[in-house]
């Protein structure tokens, strides 16, 4: 690995002088039960080479057969991305030699993708949307996994040998390729991140993948180029491979902008190449230089027949599509009556599902938002966890709010109840009972406390009796103190005035 230092231009400076153009290829592993072309079970974390058949090992004589469910998932993805679904398409062989590719060709789609010409609007943090155009979404198969062994660091270049596990080989993938994304300007890292995040949410909503970034279910290749102005022709791009978290996508784009700007500033040229992303250093390093020698010899896969999705089937799939995240957000915002800024905060906090469930548990939209975005958001921030990870459920928040609405506790007590629930003392009802937090609504004890307070402060009692209601607060305060805050202050006031009037 090279240790030379790389010049970087300050990001703000770079985007002030160059127009970045982005392109993203996202691979998603489909959550089917079996592989793309054979009935080997899809597994994760199993013993090596225990989820392989002659087909996934590429043994002589083995033949592929297309997983119909994978095709349906690919069509779902295509439709969700507003793509056309091909009337007819084929698989092709992409020929290249590499040990984790069992047949030494990848079965993929080349010039006939199943879905093409789509778009998706991604929401940025300020609530604005940015449209990303989709060139194509096509089906293919995943490769096996190499473990490089030996050498000083275990890195590829120092390895003495590699161990290959083909459990992953043949898992269905859909690759989604954008058209060049222009016009993002300085926000290009954010657009990149928001796009990948939007896709991830869509995959989950569609039920086509667990879409767990940390397991490599979703992997992004980030293409980036710079040009002097938006009117200039596209510059030479680099492709940063396997960027596997939202944050890394953002960082990798940012890094490439700064690096390419430095190269261009120094009068250099950008080399069209594959680059590798390094999470630890937050930088990219060059991989193989793409050259004319790279010749994949694509041709139609003769072991598979064309796919011609019946139009009625496509419409059936379209009709059965779940509501997509963006549409759902718009609908819920309307139903809940949140302002744009409020909704944006809710979205950014990942609180939509929590609030929805809380409302379903009986709370008003305003109350649900107040709890999750107020007290609970503060707690989560303090503890550095996600809202959903707090040990409290939307149902419990619903119960808590019901107690408030019924006047059994007030806001101040409710916060104590919340604290109890978070501390693992049980549900709201249990905490109220165990901590004895219920508002005292029986007049008997209150009257006793009022009488005691009036008797304890005779001069004030006299003033009140004479019609001067100014010091009544002192009596109320004493009553509240005596009942440890569990009295309803309004009711106390009423009772004090009644008592004084009675003489």
């Amino acid at each position: 690995m090279s240790t030379q230092t790389v010049d970087l231009v300050d990001y703000d400076e770079a985007v002030a002088r160059f127009d970045p153009v982005l392109g993203i290829e996202v691979h998603v592993e489909l959550g089917t039960r079996t592989k793309m072309f054979d009935a080997a079970p899809q597994t994760f974390g199993e013993e090596p080479n225990t989820a392989v058949t002659p087909v996934s090992l590429g043994l002589p004589g083995a033949l592929p057969v297309v997983n119909g469910t994978a095709v349906e998932y690919a069509i779902r993805i295509g439709l969700a991305l507003n793509c056309q679904i091909a009337e007819r398409c084929r698989f092709a062989r992409k020929n290249y030699f590499y040990p984790d590719v069992p047949k030494n060709f990848q079965t993929s789609q080349y010039d006939e993708p199943i879905a093409f010409d789509g778009w998706i609007d991604v929401e940025l943090e300020d609530g604005s949307t940015f449209r990303v155009e989709i060139e194509r979404a096509h089906m293919e198969e995943d490769a096996g996994k190499n473990t490089h062994v030996g050498g000083s660091t275990g890195r590829i270049h120092g390895a003495e040998y590699s161990l290959v596990d083909y459990n992953r080989a043949g898992i269905p993938l859909v690759e989604i390729v954008t058209r060049p994304i222009t016009g993002a300007g300085a926000r290009v890292p954010e657009v990149a991140r928001a796009y990948v995040q939007t896709l991830r949410d869509i995959f989950r909503t569609l039920g086509v993948s667990e879409a767990r970034m940390e397991r490599g279910n979703v992997r992004a290749d980030v293409n980036l180029s710079l040009r002097p102005t938006p009117e200039s022709p596209l510059g030479t791009r680099t492709e940063t491979k396997n960027v596997n978290s939202f944050r890394s996508v953002e960082r990798a784009v940012r890094y490439e902008v700064s690096r390419q700007a430095a190269v261009l500033d120094a009068g250099g040229t950008i080399v069209q190449e594959t680059r590798h992303w390094h999470e630890d250093t937050g930088s990219t390093t060059p991989g193989r230089v793409k050259s004319d020698a790279e010749d994949y010899r694509y041709f139609p896969e003769p072991d598979l027949v064309p796919i011609a999705p019946d139009r009625a089937w496509v419409e059936e799939i379209r009709a059965a599509l779940p509501e997509l995240p963006a549409a759902r957000r718009r609908r819920l915002q309307g139903e809940w009556g949140y302002a744009d800024a409020e909704m944006r905060d809710v979205v950014n906090a990942g609180a939509i599902e929590l609030i929805e469930a809380t409302i379903a548990a009986g709370a008003s939209p305003a109350a649900a938002r107040k709890w999750w975005m107020g007290e609970l958001a503060r707690t989560a921030k303090q503890q550095e966890v996600e809202l959903a990870e707090l040990p409290i459920t939307p149902t419990q928040i619903g119960e808590l709010q019901a107690l408030v609405d019924a006047g059994r506790i007030n806001d101040k007590l409710a916060r104590q109840v919340l604290e109890g629930v978070l501390a693992g003392e049980g549900g709201p009802e249990q905490v109220v009972v165990a901590r004895g937090l219920e508002v005292v609504s029986d007049d008997g004890p209150l009257l006793e406390a009022i009488d005691a307070a009036l008797a304890g402060q005779p001069d004030i009692a006299a003033k009140i009796r004479s019609g001067n209601l100014g010091p009544v607060g002192a009596i109320i305060g004493a009553v509240m103190k005596a009942t440890r805050g569990q009295a309803d202050a309004g009711r106390v006031r009423e009772l004090v005035l009644e008592r004084v009037a009675q003489g």
């Binding site: 058949t53 119909g68 040990p99 596990d165 003769p302």
Partner: protein, 98 residues
């Protein structure tokens, strides 16, 4: 149609990952040149109006139900491997990524 030079054969052999001796290269270049010249006749009738046929029978939409089958036993999967370790196929060091 271009003729197949020795250099071209060497380039293609590298693409096909086949080591050839210089003698093999000489012989193959001569033979392939003759063969290519002969088979290139196909372009005489392959006019733009003729569609290509990749499958002898016009089948479409052959799908498999998404139902798992028993995989190979790991021992069977690895039985034919030239080398194996820790349940994995052992292969020589890989110099390039992807």
């Amino acid at each position: 149609m271009s003729t197949l030079s020795r250099d071209e054969v060497a380039r293609v052999a590298a693409l096909a990952r086949i080591d050839l001796t210089p003698a093999e290269l000489d012989r193959l270049a001569g033979e392939l040149d003759v063969i290519v010249e002969s088979v290139a006749r196909v372009s005489e009738v392959a006019t733009p109006d003729v569609p290509a046929t990749s499958h002898p029978l016009p089948l479409t939409n052959v799908f498999r139900a998404d139902v798992p089958e028993a995989p190979l036993l790991a021992a069977d999967a690895l039985a034919g491997a030239p080398a194996a370790r820790d349940g994995k196929f052992l292969v020589p060091q890989i110099l390039e990524e992807d």
